[in-house]
Amino acid sequence: MKTLLFKPFEKYSEQKLLIVGIIGTLIGAFLTYIFNCKFTRALKIIPIDDASIGLSVINSIVIVCCLTLFLFIAAKYTYKRTRFIDILVTAMVAYMPLYILTLLNINNNLKILTEDAIKHASLELANQVPLNIHIPLLLVRLLNFAILAWFIALLYNGFKTAANAKGTKAIVVFALAILLADIVSKIIIHQLN
């Protein structure tokens, strides 16, 4: 189970991972659309009013492409024999847990919660935020953190397997690649939307 959840790249062939990755990305884009969410960059999801299926798919593709591109450059720098397909499936499969976050916005719950929190903050009543906003907001943040940690763990394990990465240098180039993918995906998504 641990292998399946955190290290699938060590066990499963690239063909199987590619199929899972493509199906997962399409389902994820669909969930983003039906639950009115939008990935504004690789590491950020927000609730919106009118999601479109086309833009949801395009945003998912942009994010996967950015992650693949920068991770591939980092992997090639670390290990010359890295294959593109291994990095592509890593980006697609590792990103799948982030689509779970879209479920938080069922019935626009997350949007309503966020708006309430903003309203209290703007009224300078932050210290008087009622518990029915405070506790769900805390739970959302905790779930966000857990899912983000899962995504990073999956992505790093995939990168490590694809690039035979070891040591501090690999961790540094990996972190830089994610940072760049996040920034570039934000710019491209902003231009496209």
Binding site: F9, E10, K11, Y12, S13, E14, L17, R81, R83, D86, T161, A162, N164
Partner: protein
């Protein structure tokens, strides 16, 4: 099958063969012969190389046989190559 010890259990230095004998005529040869590099690898690494030869050097076939992904098997081979280079130097 008994596992061939390659390092001294006391000081961990590489062991050498100091006596060879013929099981037929009981001739005994004494001396100091270093172990071949492949024999100095761990049992796990030796088994991996054996499988590698049996699959005609196909990492894809090995990955399928070992139920591991291709890069995992390739990384293992790279690690063994690194160990062999260290042992040779």
């Amino acid at each position: 099958m008994k596992k061939l010890p390659v390092n001294c259990p006391s000081c961990e230095s590489p062991l050498v063969a100091s006596q060879l004998s013929c099981s037929e005529c009981e001739t005994v040869i004494s001396g100091s012969y270093s172990l071949p590099v492949l024999l100095q690898l761990s049992k796990d690494d030796q088994d991996f190389i054996f499988e590698f030869i049996l699959t005609s050097g196909s990492l894809k076939k090995m990955a399928a046989k070992m139920e591991k992904s291709y890069p995992t098997v390739r990384n293992k081979l790279d690690d063994i190559l690194e160990k062999i280079n260290q042992l040779k130097n």
